[in-house]
Amino acid sequence: MFAAENGLRGDPRLQGISKAIRVVPDFPIPGIMFQDITTLLLDHKAFKDTVDIFVDRYRDMGISVVAGIEARGFVFGPSIALAIGAKFVPLRKPNKLPGEVISEAYVLEYGTDRLEMHVGAIEPGERALVIDDLVATGGTLSAAVRLLERMGAEVVECACVVGLPEVRVRLVVASSLLHLCKMALGLKLLLLLDKSSQFHITGTTQT
């Protein structure tokens, strides 16, 4: 599930990737330590390594669709799609995609939001990968998985650069509650970086 557990432990590229991500305190609201991947994008080697690690993993899995979640999923997804010969499907906030869409609601801390996908973008039976920069509660990823599954795709995995502590807690809890939490169990999740241990140390990342 996490890069270390998936055998990526010790991949020398992960250290450079982790160092390139900066933490911005109190964004968007006080108390949140925001994992800012824009600094990763300024480090050409680290950015390339990030894409390469995903490509190395997914190129032989028969994946024909990479679905990226607006907007930071758009930064990573297309490069992966191009390298593995898959199409790229943007999953967007409401009213952005023209033409016919299907939509799926998901829960925010306060209220709900919706994620949309084009009808006809994928066909039943396609194998899909979902990409976002970061996973926290997993709500957005779960909505993405539901959208793809509604269109008959098989979601092979969800892949994110960074995972936050809530994810580990939800997934650990879910696995002991035997199918009660379908959302967490439904996510086959790859994270390059698990920031849960760093979350509690100080306001700066120690990598």
Binding site: R22, V24, F27, P28, F34, D36, T38, L41, L42, D43, H44, F47, K48, V51, E70, A71, R72, F74, V75, F76, P78, S79, A81, L82, G85, A86, K87, F88, V89, P90, R92, N95, K96, L97, P98, G99, E100, H118, G120, A121
Partner: protein, 247 residues
């Protein structure tokens, strides 16, 4: 109008131009699809297509301009890219013929060709920054940046970027919007490319140019997949070169 709309929304996504609809873009729509770059439009391409081996802003003689236009007109990849883009009528509001690049992203060859065409043009131009405009510029910019060895800088709507930003206001058809860039993302003297899926009035691109130039970056060129020439974005960019694949 309705017949055309249902045709365009059908599975035949290769239909590039709407037929018989009255819209403010109708002169462009009516252009025959078989003539992708008619020679009498080379005037529009003098800035976009300088001779292949000179700097982007260099002067070019007339025969070389025509040669450049011919080279691009004959690139066999352009036709596939153009036909992969679908047109959605009346989105986001009546009268707008929306150029939807999502169907291009479903065509692995055409998407690959799109990126290759940009990479071939920019890889030897010493560009260290590719700035992509939210959100569809985020789809095309990073693959280009990765291929040419540049960093990628997202230009975003307000309050999306954490930390310190600079911002630039720009005009919309009705009202204004604001574009933001991170402080410290770029350094004075760097050479930059700005990428977006489409240029219409040029307002968004102009705001991006101003943001980068405010911090001393040299914007080498703006690159878009699609241009809507009737909206005169090229003129709004003035002396700043604009390169497009499809117009």
């Amino acid at each position: 109008m309705h017949a055309a709309a249902s045709l365009l929304n059908s599975s035949n996504l290769s239909l590039r131009f709407a037929s018989q609809t009255q819209t403010r873009l109708s002169p462009w729509i009516a252009a025959p699809s078989s003539v992708r770059l008619p020679l009498n439009r080379s005037q529009n391409y003098r800035i976009a297509l300088p001779p292949l081996h000179s700097t982007v802003s260099g002067d070019s003689t007339q025969p070389q301009q025509m040669a450049s236009a011919d080279v691009k007109a004959q690139d066999p990849r352009i036709a596939g890219i153009s036909s992969a883009i679908r047109v959605i009528p009346d989105f986001p509001k009546p009268g707008i013929m929306f150029q939807d690049i999502t169907t291009l992203l479903l065509d692995t060859k055409a998407f690959r060709d799109t990126i290759d065409l940009f990479v071939e043009r920019y890889k030897d131009k010493n560009i260290s920054v590719v700035a992509g405009i939210e959100a569809r510029g985020f789809i095309f910019g990073p693959p280009i940046a990765l291929a040419i060895g540049a960093k990628f800088v997202p230009m975003r709507k307000p309050k999306k970027l954490p930390g310190e930003v600079i911002s630039e206001e720009y005009s919309l058809e009705y009202g204004k919007d604001v574009m933001e860039m991170h402080v410290g993302a770029v350094q004075a003297g760097e050479r930059a490319l700005i990428v977006d899926d489409l240029v219409a009035t040029g307002g968004t691109l102009s705001a991006a140019i101003r943001l980068l130039e405010r911090v001393g970056v040299h914007v080498v060129e703006c690159a878009c997949v699609i241009e809507l020439p009737e909206l005169k974005g090229r003129e709004r960019l003035g002396e700043k070169p604009l390169f497009v694949l499809v117009s």
